[in-house]
């Protein structure tokens, strides 16, 4: 891509022309009139007192809110990933100081509950949920309405779950929303993967972003993107052969394994294989980033990157990518470490994407 690349010239030309475009003249009197009308219906500046702490808090939960608001409209496609958005119409609560068993109810304003460094869940308007557990795994029981959850990626195989009616939605570092509507459980996933199934049983379905599904209240049947949901392959999860990295500290993955019914390899690796393996890749990457990133004393470097992992049918990791990229040394290290991790064989292999937040 040299300065003489004709495409560069073309792009500059297009930018210039786009800059020169004049915006249309709107009917300003009509806009002002509507604005006056609408502004009179909502609490304005004079009705509220300054609350700068709230502003900071709102900015922190902005990601969740933007997605939540965006998905208020009926949608046939999954919502876009969140972006930093200020959220004026939201109450923030500290989940870490909230006792298990606390019931959270939202009225006209959404309520966001933050568990520092782990997850933030935001109740849509007129919703109710119970914080059932906040130990190793945060569990939220949705009783009414909708909840948007943002889960910080973690090497642990499962850190967050939403239970709605008889359905359990378990996640591993993702952004997703669960709604209770007309006796159905609606799940939208905008990042990562979630496993869905009856409470107390193995997951029956897997939703990979971007996807939208609606499930029966018991979590045993449903549709994904308008088609009947395919149940997960039922087979025994084979142990992973990792020569590097520690086994994840939590062990609920074992409960994901189900008895084998066929000697044929499944179409895709099972959720337990994927999550266990990805957890190890995340561990390897975290170590590599820490070891190959220089930092001055007292300065913390934080990087957010999307890990893309391709798993071949043989179970080998065929490609590891980071976007935006890490330093060459860190990437090389992560690739070497990941190449020694083996998933169970499958017919089609799999591609997994995860957002990582790496710190040094």
């Amino acid at each position: 891509m040299t300065p003489r690349d004709p495409r560069e010239s073309a792009l500059r030309r297009l930018v210039r022309e786009a800059r020169a475009e004049k915006p249309p003249e709107l009917d300003w009197s009509r806009v002002e009139q509507r604005l006056r009308h609408e502004a009179g219906r909502v609490p304005g500046a004079e009705a509220r007192r300054p609350n700068y702490r709230l502003w900071g808090a709102l900015a922190a939960v902005a990601v969740a809110t933007s997605w939540l608001v965006a998905t208020r409209a009926p949608s046939s496609s999954p919502a876009a990933p969140p972006s930093p958005v200020a959220a004026p119409n939201q109450v923030r609560r500290d989940g870490d100081s909230m006792a298990p068993g606390t019931r959270v109810t939202s009225g006209a304003r959404r309520v966001s509950v933050a568990h520092a460094g782990r997850a933030t869940w935001t109740l849509a308007e007129d919703s109710r949920a119970l914080l059932a557990d906040k130990g190793e795994r945060i569990t939220v029981k949705l009783e009414r309405g909708g909840v948007l959850s943002e889960v910080v990626p973690s090497p642990k195989p499962e850190t967050f779950a939403v239970e709605a009616a008889g359905t359990r939605v378990a996640v591993h570092g993702t952004v997703f929303r669960v709604d209770l509507e007309g006796g159905r459980v609606l799940v939208q996933v905008s990042e990562g993967t979630v496993a869905i199934g009856p409470i107390g049983a193995a997951p029956a379905f897997l939703l990979k972003a971007p996807a939208r599904g609606d499930f029966a209240a018991d979590g045993r049947s449903g549709n994904v993107d308008g088609h009947p949901a395919l149940r997960l392959e039922r087979r025994r999860a084979e142990p992973l052969k990792a020569t590097r990295g520690r086994a994840p500290s939590a062990a609920p993955v074992a409960s994901l394994a189900v008895p084998a019914t066929s000697a044929e390899p499944p179409n895709e690796p099972s959720i337990s294989d994927i999550e266990l393996g990805v957890a190890r890749v995340v561990e390897v990457t975290t170590d590599c980033f820490r070891n190959h990133t220089q930092s001055a004393d007292g300065v913390q470097i934080t990087v957010r990157t999307a890990l893309s992992l391709q798993i071949a049918g043989s179970g080998a990791v065929s490609d590891v990518g980071f976007r935006p990229p890490l330093s060459p040394e860190a990437e090389r290290c992560a690739e070497e470490g990941s190449s020694q991790i083996t998933f169970s064989p499958s017919q089609r292999g799999a591609t997994v994407t995860r957002m990582l937040e790496l710190k040094r």
Partner: protein, 214 residues
């Protein structure tokens, strides 16, 4: 009257000040919204929503920050929400032939062609990821510095530069694949000569971000 004084008055509930603030900034909001959307539809609704949010939140605006940066932030957020919601609805694009039908001025052909190119360019922008599109529009079309964009999108400056780099790279790769810009392939070659003498516009930011770790 400068924006800070108007904001102070708005924070005290002065409706006239809010009207003045609206009139002072409505063009900026409209322009940014149109550039982010790539079309003129729904602009009234968006501008109205932006100023409604300003009205609701102006007490939370901190002095010391730049009002324009805050306003841009609100605008970006409103447009993003609008785009996401619109994804689930049928899209009625503007009729492409309408351009030729209305413009009879001298050099209309070139103007029509230019408008088509700009529309095609917006289609390319539309194919970028949300984050890249936002920083590209703010930097290349609005002329904002990466540091200010970083405040608007809430990301580190380095991240903004990286997104800019990838946005530009992806756009360059897409240029050849957009049928409506096929003619660019020919005029781009001609332009590469003309560009050498036409450096009036701002240089795009350095691509050095790509060499930096994420």
């Amino acid at each position: 009257m400068d924006s800070n004084r108007l904001v102070e008055r708005c924070q005290r509930g002065d409706a006239e000040a809010f009207q003045q603030l609206f009139r002072a900034h409505r063009d900026d909001v409209t322009r940014l919204a149109q550039r982010m959307l790539g079309r003129a539809t729904d602009l009234e609704d968006i501008v109205q929503e932006v100023f409604l949010q300003v009205h609701r939140s102006i007490r939370d605006f901190r002095h010391g920050a730049r009002f324009s940066t805050w306003l841009y932030r609100v605008t970006v957020n409103v447009v993003l929400m609008h785009r996401r919601a619109a994804k689930s609805r049928p899209v009625f694009g503007e009729a492409p032939e309408s351009l030729a039908a209305v413009d009879h001025r001298p050099f209309a052909d070139e103007q029509v062609e230019q408008r088509r190119r700009v529309q095609a360019f917006h289609r390319l922008l539309d194919r970028l990821s949300e984050k890249k599109r936002v920083v590209f529009v703010l930097h290349e079309l609005e002329g904002l510095a990466p540091a200010e964009i970083a405040k608007i999108v809430g990301s580190p400056v380095l991240t903004v530069r990286t997104r800019l780099f990838y946005a530009r790279r992806e756009l360059l790769a897409m240029l050849g694949g957009e049928p409506s810009l096929a003619s660019l392939a020919s005029f781009a070659t001609e332009l590469s000569d003309a560009e050498r003498t036409d450096e009036a516009t701002a240089e795009p930011p350095s691509d050095s971000a790509a060499k930096e770790p994420a």
